[in-house]
Amino acid sequence: MTFPDDVRYTREHEWAREQGGVVTVGITGYATDQLGDVVFVELPEVGRKLETGKTFGVVEAVKTVSDLYAPLAGEVVEVNGALGDNPAVVNADPYGQGWMVKIRLSDPSSFQSLLSSADYAKVVEEQHA
């Protein structure tokens, strides 16, 4: 499995793409592979303050459920409302249309603390072994 280089990752299988102090966040292709078909994504309200590593939502798949963890601290500025009607897009396009929230970072430099795609690939390899 390969992981895109234009985003950074967490050990909880989320990705984040940064632009002007705002990160777009979703779950990785590895995560969607493990979960199976996503049928519902519960997302926070716009304006909610998130703390690093704390849960901010839930992904329900047919066979299992998983919490979403904030990759970094900040404020939710947008959520992907399209997932309400079409949660399957999380499986089909996890790094694109399957995005979940946009967070304005409390500390824009914190983005650099996330994992590179190479480091994330190692995490997956370890957890998968």
Binding site: D37, V39, V62
Partner: protein
């Protein structure tokens, strides 16, 4: 080195790997849980046809004088009423009424085949061996038996020309010995999906012949490979039991809503006294089906509440691909078992609204009745 327990493989293991299946440990077997996606596989079975490797299930050969009478003491349904070529679903109970396993009994000309859950195979064999009278022989044929299920509205069309025509005329829960792509097989019109279909038993040495044959004749009809994930959503939409989730050593068939498989009039059997008492006194709890509002999914073990009080627990839950809503089953106090009763399900920090619903949840299946 980590200590590992070697997982068993069915004769179709290499096909699963080649198809890109996600494999999991299921009852000691490395089995496909998903090939392409749970929803796609589920809908293929509802709309066209699907192929399941269920070779992990166990098959026991039972024969000898008094075999039927003995089986009738071991299981709750009536083996003695079976005609040759008929199969029967039944719980097998302990004297206290708890369910050892749920199984199928097939009546052949000169013997019976008992088909059991993989997870219970060793327990069942020991239980049966312990109670077996002299004169009845019990043989575990599981390693000599491959089992595939072809399920879905196109199942019969896929097999046409590759099984005797008479097999296509079999009624539900009827079977015949015959040939399948030229090899000897038991052809059984049974399944765990609610759709028309067949379960096909044959020797593992013929695995490649049958698999390749099914792939070739299934392809024009849209036959898809189906993993254990969709097997579970298909059975749950029908309200069929999964041992370990919905029934176990602590539940009786009556509590599980399997009263139709308990034949009090046939004579003595394990659990009969307890079930007679339950019938006389009424049940304290019952397995009910429920649907939920919203799209959060109930999961095994979640508490069920009514007016804030815990009244039971979720046995099985899933998101129904056919109905596009969450549903489940669970045991609740009998007073709360009526259709339409409002229940609350605890899902972590939130509470999900549910209401008791008649089963099967899915009523458009093509299985014969």
């Amino acid at each position: 080195m980590q200590p590992t327990t070697a997982l068993k493989h069915t004769p179709f293991y290499d096909y699963h790997r080649a198809a890109g299946a996600k494999l999991v440990d299921f009852a000691g077997f490395e089995m496909p849980v998903r090939y392409t996606g749970d929803v796609r596989e589920h809908m293929a079975v509802r709309q066209t046809a699907g192929l399941f490797d269920i070779t992990h299930m166990g098959e026991f050969d039972v024969r000898g004088a008094g075999a039927a009478e003995w089986l009738d003491r071991m299981v709750t349904n009536h083996v003695g009423a079976l005609a040759v070529g008929q199969a029967l679903y039944s719980p097998m109970c302990r004297p206290d009424g708890g369910i050892v396993d749920d199984l199928l009994v097939y009546r052949y000309e000169d013997h019976y085949m008992v088909v059991v859950n993989a997870a219970n195979l060793a327990k069942d064999f020991a239980w049966l061996a312990q109670h077996k009278p002299a004169g009845v022989t019990l043989t575990d044929q599981s390693d000599e038996t491959a089992l595939l299920a072809v399920q879905g509205p196109k199942a019969a069309e896929i097999l046409r020309g590759h099984v005797p025509d008479a097999a296509l005329d079999l009624g539900y829960y009827r079977f015949m010995p015959g040939t399948l792509y030229g090899v000897p097989a038991t052809l059984s019109r049974t399944g765990y999906t609610g759709e028309d279909g067949f379960e096909l038993y044959f020797h593992p040495r013929h695995a490649a012949t049958v698999w390749d044959g099914l792939m070739a004749s299934g392809q024009p009809h849209g036959l898809e490979l189906i993993g254990l994930g969709a097997r579970d959503t298909l059975r749950l939409e029908m309200g069929y039991m999964l041992y370990g989730n919905d029934i176990d050593d602590t539940t009786t068939p009556l509590e599980a809503g399997l009263g139709w498989t308990v034949k009090m009039a046939k004579g003595e059997f394990h659990g009969r006294e307890v079930m007679a008492k339950q019938k006389a006194d009424g049940l304290k709890r019952r397995l009910v089906g429920f649907q939920l509002d919203g799209r959060r999914v109930p999961r095994h073990g979640m508490a069920i509440r009514s007016a804030g009080r815990v009244v039971g627990a979720v046995a099985s839950g899933t998101f129904s691909p056919s109905l596009e809503l969450p549903l489940g089953m669970g045991y609740v106090e009998s007073a709360l078992a009526a259709n339409g009763t409002a229940l609350e399900i605890e899902a972590g920090s939130t509470t999900l609204a549910a209401r008791v619903t008649a089963r099967p949840f899915y009523t458009r299946g093509t299985h014969r009745s």
